[in-house]
């Protein structure tokens, strides 16, 4: 039933519900009405019958009293006018039947009289008639009395015809009313239902249209502002959204399609070109394979060559060290002048050969990618000044002015590899000096790029040498080439220096180049980059507050030299007035003095000549105005040595060129009256130590052993020798040494392992013997490895007396 109902449409459901409600309401109403009416009808029928009975009873009373049955029967016969009365009986006082009436149309009914007999009809008391209403009929029994004396009774039986008529009429009315109501409610419902079902049907139709045609433009008419109206609105809104989305999807789809088409055609085109390319590539590949094989062969042979060269250089260096060591020992053995000269030439030649070997070794290292740069803080100016100190004498001996134009505005402290940087400067400046016979060589620098991470500095070395022809300018940086092969004969040099410089500048992320005019000189430039470093506290700058402003008079004909002097003194807040000869000097001095001023000092470059310098110093103008202590001479170390033999110039302060900030600073302090020695030259003095120190040299190479032994014994040490780590450990167990020189690369047991074992054994005893590593070439990684193994310091081979003294002072000095 429920399933059947569920299958109905909404409108049919509504109809069914409405009909059920209407019919049940109607049935209830009519049922109540009919039952009320039925009771009323029954009452009426009974009352009617009772009243008939009483009339008859009254009329028949006399007949009963006078025993007149005939009259009684006649009276009873009057009941004929009431058709529903079927039977009537009159009883006398004794209860016997007195008179009787049976309707002509009476139905056969047996139980009439027995009703009274059986006691179903009670003898009525107090005048009220007894009524029985049953399905068989209506029975009334009433007494008959005359003047309050009961003289008999009457019984009447009536059929239910009246009641049945009422019932059928009621049924008919109910049926008709039901039918009419049913039809009317159906009519009304079918009208009203459309208010509800129409929107639903519209919605349903719209939904199926949308589903079937995918037509999102459909809109449903809104009928009323009820839930269905809201549903319709929501549906419309949803459709709109769906439509938009659909349109968007369509658009996307179309775009995609177009794109796919485009791509496809592009791909086809690309495919075609790709096929062509592949064809070409195959051919190219074949060619490349062939050339690659060739290249491989070439590379292998080049590598082998480089390897051979490196090995050769290394192997050559050891005997070279031996030669040089022995030659320097020989020169200290009190030779004749001629002998000393021969030994000197031999030593210089050996040195040149060693330099050549070192360059070859460096180049091959760089080419094999084995060169690793250090990354430690150093002062650029110090490095340059160090190099200038080395090469200075060779320039000044030729009469070439060597100047470093110091600029205190530039950063000097950087992080980098000072050794390689010095090598670079040494090679370029050395090269410039080599090809310059008069004039000057000047180095200046400028920062081209500066940030927190990088500082790039461009150095320029200007000379007044022979210059380089344009067509060979690039060639000079190539291996073993010089501008003119004849120059080698004339100026010497290996031709490897510039090549090494180019490789070094590349390593330092820079470049190198040259500008030149043949016959007038060249300017070599190179730029390298460092990591910036904060300047250290021990700056050699003087506090400006400490100094009083000074003005010095300078006699110098060389502009380069004057410029360098000016730059250095500027750094210490000293002003220089430069004059070029004695005439100018006197006039300048005179005008200065006459204007009430004076100079705080006089600097004379000995390049003007010793005689003129003496003349100037001894002149009245100078003598009157400038104190003896305020006169400074400047020149090369050689000049200084010569000045010491001059009876006039002997007494004056000397500022050695090439200039160093250290020298200038001391000089300025002296002029200021602050007592500080003008220490121009580092004394290289062999110092005899009081008690004899025991030294162990561990070295596998016999030549090196001999060199080391000779040098150390000449310095007054007791030297023992060991050929490898094992021997050294044995000796160290037997005897106590003050210091150990340990070679790193040795057969049997190398220096690192030997040191490590020695340190382990040494842990037991309280003392610690310093171990100094001896390395052929100090590399960035080597030193760290030495320190890790437990060594204390290192020294580069071949030994130089100065370095040995430094080591001795540091580790076993007083």
């Amino acid at each position: 039933m429920k399933e059947l109902f569920n299958r109905l449409s909404v409108s049919k459901k509504l109809i069914v519900i409405n009909i059920i409600v209407v019919v049940s309401a109607l049935l209830l109403a009519t049922g109540v009405f009919v039952s009320i009416e039925r009771t009323a009808v029954r009452e009426r029928i009974i009352n009617e019958l009772v009243s008939h009975t009483q009339v008859i009873a009254y009329n028949v009373a006399a007949s009963v009293a006078f025993d007149d049955a005939v009259t009684a029967s006649e009276i009873l016969a009057s009941l004929q006018s009431i058709p529903q009365i079927q039977e009537s009986l009159i009883f006398n006082a004794d209860g016997d039947i007195f008179a009787e009436y049976v309707a002509t149309n009476a139905e056969e009914f047996s139980g009439g009289y027995s009703e009274i007999k059986s006691g179903r009809l009670q003898w009525p008391g107090s005048h009220a008639p007894t009524v029985v209403f049953s399905n068989e009929g209506i029975f009334v029994h009433s007494q008959i009395d005359l003047d309050n004396e009961v003289i008999g009774s009457i019984y009447i039986r009536s059929s239910l015809a009246q009641f049945d008529a009422f019932k059928s009429r009621a049924m008919l009315i109910v049926g008709v009313v039901l039918c009419v109501t049913f039809i009317i409610s159906l009519l009304i419902l079918s009208r009203m239902l459309r208010l509800v079902s129409d929107p639903i049907m519209h919605l349903k139709k719209a939904v199926s249209t949308v589903r079937k045609d995918k037509n999102y433009a459909v809109r449903v008419h809104k009928f009323a502002d009820d839930e269905l109206g809201h549903l319709t609105e929501a549906f419309n809104g949803m459709l709109e959204e769906l439509g938009e989305r659909d349109a968007e999807l369509n658009r996307h789809y179309l775009e995609l399609e177009a794109e796919v088409e485009d791509r496809t055609s592009e791909l086809q085109a690309a495919n075609i070109s790709l096929e062509e390319t592949v064809k070409a590539l195959k051919q190219a590949n074949r060619a490349i394979r062939i050339s690659e094989e060739n290249k491989k062969v070439a590379e292998e042979s080049a590598n082998a060559k480089a390897q051979f060269l490196a090995t050769m250089s290394h192997e050559l260096r050891t005997p070279m060290n031996g030669v040089l060591g022995m030659l320097s020992l020989l020169s200290e053995t009190g030779l004749t002048n001629d002998q000393e000269h021969y030994v000197g030439v031999a030593y210089e030649s050996g040195n040149l050969l060693l330099e050549l070997l070192n360059n070859v070794l460096d180049l091959s290292k760089i080419e094999q990618g084995k060169m690793v740069l250090e990354h430690i803080p150093f002062d650029i100016s110090d490095a340059i000044e160090d190099v200038f100190a080395i090469v200075g004498e060779s320039a000044y001996s030729k009469g070439v002015e060597l100047a470093y134009v110091f600029d205190d505005r530039l950063p000097t402290m950087v992080l980098g590899d000072p050794t390689r940087f010095k090598q670079l400067v040494f090679n370029i400046v050395g090269n410039a000096i080599k090809f310059t016979s008069r004039g000057y060589v000047k180095l200046g620098y400028a920062v081209t790029e500066e940030s927190e991470k990088i500082v790039r500095i461009r150095f320029e070395v200007e000379d007044t040498g022979v210059g380089i022809r344009e067509e060979v300018r690039e060639k000079i940086f190539e291996t073993f080439s010089q501008a003119d092969s004849s120059t080698t004969r004339k100026f010497g040099g290996t031709g490897l220096g510039l090549t090494l410089c180019r490789q070094l500048t590349h390593l330092m992320d820079g470049g190198i180049g040259v500008e030149s005019e043949e016959g007038k000189g060249s300017t070599f430039w190179f730029d390298v980059s460092f990591t910036p470093e904060m300047p250290s506290s021990h700056d050699q700058t003087l506090n400006g507050g400490q100094l009083k402003p000074m003005t010095l008079l300078v006699v110098d004909r060389n502009d380069t030299s004057a410029a360098a002097l000016k730059a250095y003194f500027d750094h210490y807040y000293v002003k220089l007035d430069i004059v070029s000869d004695s005439e100018e000097l006197y006039s300048t001095l005179e005008s200065k003095v006459s204007s009430g001023g004076g100079y705080d000092g006089l600097i004379i470059n000995l390049a003007i000549g010793f005689e003129e310098a003496s003349r100037i110093i001894l002149s009245e103008d100078v003598q009157c105005c400038i104190k003896l202590s305020q006169i400074l001479l400047t020149g090369s170390l050689n000049d200084r040595n010569r000045a010491k033999e001059d009876k006039v110039l002997l007494n004056y302060q000397f500022l050695v060129k090439p200039l160093r900030r250290r020298y200038v600073r001391e000089c300025v302090l002296r002029l200021q009256g602050l007592n500080e020695e003008l220490n121009s030259v580092e004394p290289i003095v062999v110092r005899a130590t009081a008690d004899i120190k025991k030294i162990l040299v561990v070295e596998d190479n016999w030549i090196n052993q001999q060199v080391a032994q000779g040098r150390l014994e000449s310095m007054g040490f007791d030297v023992s020798l060991a050929a490898n780590g094992e021997e050294a450990l044995t000796l160290l167990e037997q005897r106590v040494f003050d210091l150990v020189f340990m070679d790193c690369q040795m057969p049997v047991l190398d220096g690192f392992q030997a040191t490590r074992r020695f340190r382990e054994k040494e842990l037991a005893s309280a003392c610690r013997t310093p171990v100094i590593a001896m390395t052929a070439h100090v590399m960035a990684g080597d030193r760290e490895a030495c320190m890790r193994a437990g060594m204390d310091d290192y020294i580069a081979k071949p030994f130089k007396t100065g370095e040995i003294i430094k080591i001795m002072e540091r580790w076993i000095g007083d």
Binding site: N59, A62, S63, F66, D68, T71, E74, L146, D147, E149
Partner: protein
């Protein structure tokens, strides 16, 4: 139809002497009282007795006396035996049997509110109101409406329906 039959019967049996049980007659007489209304002045209140006077045989009088004390129309029934006395004053119903009728009608005059009941032929003509007669086996009675009116008595139609109505004036005058 019964009336017609009743009308014809007395003519046939008028001569025959009425010989009916006295008990039935007494009951009839009492029933007559139930169906007749007396004038207000004769029977003024409920306290007044309804006086039955009998100028009849001892047996009938005794039968009437059995009903004495009963209540009819709210009045107590009182039975008075007249005997040979002709004084009927105070009587509401007087029964006169044939033995007493001769002397009765000689000295007694009609009285207002007095119902005369008899049982002989010609009783109505003599001035009676209700007269018994035998119709076959059945005791029946005849009534003179005129005489009743003369006596100021109102007889119920229910009683009249059962009786043979006789026109005593016409009939009596002619005879």
């Amino acid at each position: 139809m019964a009336v017609l039959v009743a009308l014809s019967l007395p003519v046939r049996s008028a001569i025959a002497e009425i010989d009916a049980p006295d008990k039935l007659k007494a009951a009839y007489i009492l029933s007559f009282a139930k169906l007749i209304s007396w004038p207000q002045d004769v029977l003024p209140s409920k306290n007044a007795n309804l006086v039955f006077c009998a100028a009849a045989s001892e047996s009938l009088t005794n039968e009437l006396r059995n009903h004495s004390g009963k209540s009819i129309q709210g009045h107590r029934v009182q039975i008075v035996a007249l005997g040979k006395r002709g004084d009927s004053l105070g009587c509401h119903i007087v029964y006169i049997d044939p033995q007493h009728s001769f002397r009765w009608f000689e000295r007694v005059k009609r009285m207002k509110g007095q119902l005369w009941v008899g049982e002989e032929e010609g009783f109505i003509n003599k001035g009676g109101v209700i007269n018994f007669y035998i119709d076959g086996e059945k005791l029946r009675f005849e009534i003179s409406v005129e005489h009743a009116k003369n006596s100021s008595l109102d007889i119920s139609s229910r009683l009249l329906n059962l009786a043979k109505i006789v026109d005593s004036v016409k009939g009596g005058a002619k005879q």
